[in-house]
Amino acid sequence: MNRLPLRYRLHFLVGDTRLGRSVFRHFEESADIRQLRQDEADVDAFFRRHIRTAEPATDMWPQIARRLDEPGARTLPFAAILRPAPRTMLTAAAAVLLVTTLVLLTPWSPGPSRQEILSAIDSRYQTIWAVDGASQTNPFDGNGILESTADENPFQAAGGPAAASLRLDENPFRQLIQQD
């Protein structure tokens, strides 16, 4: 490109139609270029004239037909629609169904956090404590459950201090979980 005269480079950049026309006129009128094109045509004609293309054997088509009739060699277009396609579609549908089921069944959440467990237990325990507070009874003292002898109450049998040391407003599971 850089070797070209400036006006040709300008023509390349801005597309001078006048110059373009003159180039095409040159293609048509130049003896050298005409000779070149004639040579090409001669080469083509020469090869077309002298190459003997092999004629196919007369039994070529019967052979092809025979091969098409061989089992497995022929896949009819309509059979291609009817057979492999539904099988493929069923497989794809089954795969989609399986994946969907797995997605639905997979526990994506990591599960409740420790704080959530503690809160749930606290809440549960507070309920028991509130009920007990309202009735002003110790749920572990056996009242209401064991009506008769104090000997049958395991908490009472363990002694008054054991039962008394149990603070109702304290969640006994919290300590266990926090130790975990």
């Binding site: 090869f47 077309r48 092999a54 004629e55 092809i64 091969r67 098409l68 022929r74 896949t75 277009p77």
Partner: protein
């Protein structure tokens, strides 16, 4: 392209069977011919790969005109000898063309397909096809000229 009649017939049969089995994939029925050429071309290259043929090193198999099913235009014995010799030179010239040039040259000169169709068949750009056909012509011309000047 395959240089032997048996291979050519096998490739042709395979190409037709492939075409029959893949007719559903033909998007544009108007381009059936190019599509069939393309299948045949793939069959040829597949065969080369299978056989691991180094085709450039192969000696071309010369098919006499009668065997090829053609008829010689002359009955003069001397002229016939020259014709046979010329055919041999032409076959050799084609054989010595690099495969990339040979296939586009044959499609252009013998099958008389357009550059655009050839580009579709060989899956290359139009410019590349034009350039290779030009190179093939120059090469072929030189080969024939060398033969003629050598007498």
């Amino acid at each position: 392209m395959v240089r032997s009649r048996e291979d050519a017939e096998d490739v042709t049969q395979d190409a037709f069977i492939q075409a029959f089995n893949n007719l559903l994939h033909l998007k544009d029925p108007g381009k059936f011919e190019q599509w069939l050429y393309r299948i045949a071309r793939n069959e040829v290259y597949q065969r080369f790969r299978k056989k691991k043929v180094q085709e450039v090193a192969l000696e071309p198999e010369f098919v006499p005109a009668e065997e090829a099913g053609g008829k010689r235009p002359t009955s003069n014995p001397e002229e016939e000898v020259l014709t046979v010799e010329l055919e041999r030179v032409i076959q050799r010239t084609l054989a010595e063309l690099p495969p990339k040039l040979r296939e586009v040259f044959i499609l252009s000169v013998l099958q008389e397909l357009s550059y655009k169709d050839i580009a579709d068949i060989v899956d290359r750009s139009l410019l590349s096809v034009k350039t290779d056909i030009y190179r093939a012509r120059v090469f072929a011309k030189e080969m024939i000229k060398r033969y003629l000047t050598q007498g």
